[in-house]
Symmetry: C2
């Protein structure tokens, strides 16, 4: 007789956690290393897929698309495609995506205050930080 595992314990624990912890609820949406970077890059406005790729060179196509889909499913961004050849697809932040700005901003502040040597580079990034939509 084989015991069937209905769901991973990790998932159950995570569910438990984010039901009463707003912070974990957010991590469910933007947790992982790449999602915040993607959102960060979209704060400055709508971008084509290829532009995103160029501005985040270290990410692989598979992971980028995967995350874009998840972010779209979670309602954080909007995908628009024109049925032309070659394809023309753009991504932009949705309403709730834009509401992430204060979170990302607070993170950026923390980073500049707590990164030692790196802080200068971050401060430079902060200059381009789109302050308001």
């Amino acid at each position: 007789m084989t015991v069937v595992k209905e769901a991973s314990t990790i998932q159950e624990n995570k569910t438990q956690a984010f039901v009463n912890c707003p912070v974990t609820f957010v991590m469910e949406k933007i947790g992982g290393y790449w999602k915040p970077i993607i959102l960060f890059n979209l704060l400055s406005g709508t971008k084509r897929y290829s532009e995103l790729k160029k501005s985040i060179p270290a990410i692989t196509e598979k992971v980028l698309i995967q995350h874009l889909k998840q972010l779209e499913n979670d309602g954080l961004l909007i995908r628009r495609s024109k049925p032309v050849v070659p394809p023309y697809v753009t991504y932009e932040l949705s309403k709730s995506g834009k509401e992430m700005r204060p979170v990302l901003y607070a993170m950026a502040i923390w980073a500049t205050n707590n990164s030692g040597k790196l802080s200068k580079g971050f401060a430079r990034q902060m200059k381009d930080f789109p302050a308001e939509k």
Copy 2:
């Protein structure tokens, strides 16, 4: 001719990313599902190890300790132990740990505004949210 892999590509990519992205720098410190919850629970003040365990029932001891160590190494919290039996160990946020408050707060705001059904529960949590140190 054999190509030798010197280090994992994941790590290299992450390094690349957080050198120029403050947001990813932060995710390196508090990324993962449990760390924000731990910090959240310490916002209200110093806690013993066993108190943390009770307030986060879903986490296993191994993972809790593992994360506490990482957070300590990253300078986000301070561990103090009294050499008594039974052991008496407390954890509290360091200066940079306390500076995470605006990040967690912005997350909590986002969660209450973007969680539909769950928002009421989050709003309840927000009442206890330690606004200032």
